[in-house]
């Protein structure tokens, strides 16, 4: 991403505080990246749509307190998205608290929208291909830690290994990914 793009995104976020039309512009700009993020995280278009709605609802709730000096707009928004995804995994259900607080109605997803969201998945992207080529245990550890943002003790319990070994798998897996992706370029 170029500095001009970043500046544009920051300006969009700054403007989004002033009203519905500006917030809509901000939503349009980030809709596809956020849907893609959740599509990769969940693999289901309906969940991705619900989690996207929750993310933007939380963004709307906390937009007044956003401090541009402490980070970029995309970092801020994806920070919220990561939290929403992690909380949903932890609680075993799609988070909808912010949507309820704002009184947003339930999303109705038609087939066309579901197909479009499914196509946003990065299954065919180089990073995903490189991840699939890793040994299964490293793959599982990276998915749990990096994609699902879970704690190491929890990962260790699920993979039936020690916490140190889980850390090692993530660390080695990420190193292997970096090497492979650098080689492709």
């Amino acid at each position: 991403m170029t500095a001009a793009n970043r500046h544009e995104e920051d300006a969009l976020l700054a403007a989004a505080r002033s009203g519905g039309r500006e917030f809509t512009a901000f939503y349009r700009h980030f809709e596809r990246p956020v849907l893609g993020f959740f599509m990769n995280g969940t693999g289901r278009p309906d969940l991705a749509a619900d989690l996207t709605a929750e993310t933007f609802a939380r963004a709307l709730e906390s937009i007044a307190s956003f401090d541009p000096t402490r980070g970029r707009a995309d970092q801020w928004l994806f920070g919220i998205a990561r939290n929403v995804l992690a909380e949903s995994y932890r609680r075993g259900r799609v988070e909808a608290a912010a949507r309820q607080r704002l009184g947003l109605p339930r999303l109705i997803l038609d087939d066309h929208a579901a197909e479009t969201i499914a196509r946003l998945s990065s299954d065919h992207r180089p990073a995903t291909a490189a991840l699939a080529s890793l040994p299964h245990d490293q793959q599982q550890a990276i998915e749990a830690r990096v994609l699902h943002d879970r704690e190491y003790p929890e990962i260790a319990e699920e993979l039936r290994c020690s916490e140190a070994l889980a850390r090692q798998r993530v660390s080695r897996g990420l190193r292997a990914l970096r090497t492979r992706l650098a080689g492709e370029r």
Binding site: S18, A53, A57, E61, P68, L104, A113, I117, P153
Partner: protein, 419 residues
């Protein structure tokens, strides 16, 4: 073209309801035929400026010249004193400006000129921060380090008197740093209450963000006073009346040997309606009483939430929301003096241990966990307390039973954020 047009529409509507409308200057507001004033479009504003300028060209030229000279003079004076950029990178309002827009009480003059010195010299909510004596006391320094560094904006301190509660509410826009050396800052609002008997109670040390204030209000319950539990709720402009309650305790808090149902039934009786004056609504709850033969008498503080409905002056509903409140519950124990002492000791042991122990399934502190293993851990701890084991013995037995991860101190030691 968006993928989820329904979401876009809903968000736009919610944003229109929620986000502040930018304050327009006098020149940018037009009067319509029906007398209603609406913002001018940018094109209309430009047209008006051109018409005004061309109608009196000589006056406009001289005005323009004066402005240019003034700008050049100010720039020359400022050169060498400031390295700040001439234009702000973002047009958005700061949290402090948002607060001033949100609370009318901040837009009126300060009511109590002696307040600043009172804050510095007495035990107000920002106590210790500026007192030289505190800096020389190692124990106080330690407490200060935990407290952080809340800095109230002295120009914006306001006091609201609440005659019905015989109390004064201090409203303080505050900037918070974790320590004086930290570069992290958060801005928001803190309230304190000066109640009879010269007692100060306050929220904080971290201030509440503007977004939270707009969504939920900010409450402070400061009882017991006169056998009741008084409290105030700070709400944004436009709210004329609040209906609060019935309150519900947050999950998994029960004083020793009371049931959560008994607590929930007691707090459910707490509800009321209050008019808003100077952004403050005042409540005066009766303290609910629970009779229990299993425990000893006392007053217990509980974190609770209360559904709240905000009404405008015309009676229209502005918002349904939830406000966090700290409540008191009185427990009238029927235990004999001997068993009451035993129960008191057991209760203290329980509090010590519950603070140090994690749920081995969900990895939350035991006092917040409610999984089946957490309930089993509680039962096991209760049985050990009944056998009069010491805290250290109980912790050792827990480690033997569930492994070292059951203790919080073992889990947090040596943790790393690195992957």
């Amino acid at each position: 073209m968006t993928i989820l047009p329904q979401l876009e529409r809903d968000l736009s509507r919610a944003a229109d309801e929620r986000l502040p409308v930018p304050v327009e200057s006098e020149g940018s507001v037009a009067k319509h035929e029906n007398g209603e004033r609406r913002p001018l479009s940018s094109r209309a504003r430009l047209g008006r400026a051109v018409r005004t300028t061309t109608s009196s060209l000589p006056a406009a030229v001289s005005t323009l010249l004066a402005i240019v000279i003034a700008v050049v003079a100010i720039s020359a004076l400022k050169a060498g004193h400031s390295t700040a950029p001439l234009t702000r990178p973002y047009a958005a309002a700061s949290p402090r400006t948002e607060l001033i827009r949100t609370l009318a009480v901040l837009r009126r003059p300060q009511t109590d000129p002696a307040l600043v010195s009172q804050l510095e010299n007495n035990s107000g909510p920002f106590r210790l921060s500026h007192r030289p004596a505190a800096r020389r006391n190692p124990q106080l320094l330690k407490a200060l380090a935990r407290w952080g560094n809340p800095q109230p904006d002295r120009r914006l301190l306001r006091v609201v008197t609440v005659p019905s509660l015989h109390a004064e509410v201090l409203i303080a826009p505050t900037t918070y740093q974790p320590s004086t050396a930290s570069r992290r800052r958060s801005e928001g609002i803190t309230i304190g209450v000066h109640s009879p008997g010269n007692i100060w109670t306050g929220t904080g040390p971290k201030p509440t963000a503007v977004s939270s204030l707009l969504a939920h209000g900010l409450s402070l319950v400061f009882g017991p006073y006169d056998g009741r539990d008084p409290g105030v709720v700070l709400v944004p402009d436009g709210v004329a009346r609040i209906a609060l309650g019935p309150a519900q305790p947050m999950r998994f808090q029960t004083p020793y040997r009371t049931t959560s149902k008994a607590i929930a039934d007691a707090t459910a009786t707490l509800h009321g309606t209050a008019e808003v004056d100077d952004n403050i609504a005042a409540f005066n709850f009766a303290i609910p009483t629970i009779v229990s033969s299993q425990t000893f008498s006392g007053l217990y503080g509980l974190d609770a939430t209360a559904p709240a409905t905000w009404y405008s002056a015309s009676g229209a509903i502005i918002r349904h929301t939830t406000t966090e409140v700290d409540l008191l519950v009185r427990i009238r124990g029927r235990a004999s003096p001997v068993s009451a002492r035993r129960i008191a000791l057991a209760s203290a042991a329980w509090n010590n241990i519950e603070r140090d122990v994690m749920c081995v399934a969900c990895h939350k502190p035991l006092r917040r966990a409610n999984t089946p293993p957490a309930r089993a851990e509680r039962a096991y701890i209760s049985s050990l307390i009944a056998k009069r084991e010491t805290t250290a013995q109980i912790e050792n037995m827990l480690v033997r039973q569930y492994g070292p991860a059951v203790l919080i101190k073992n889990r947090t030691a040596g943790r790393s954020s690195q992957p």
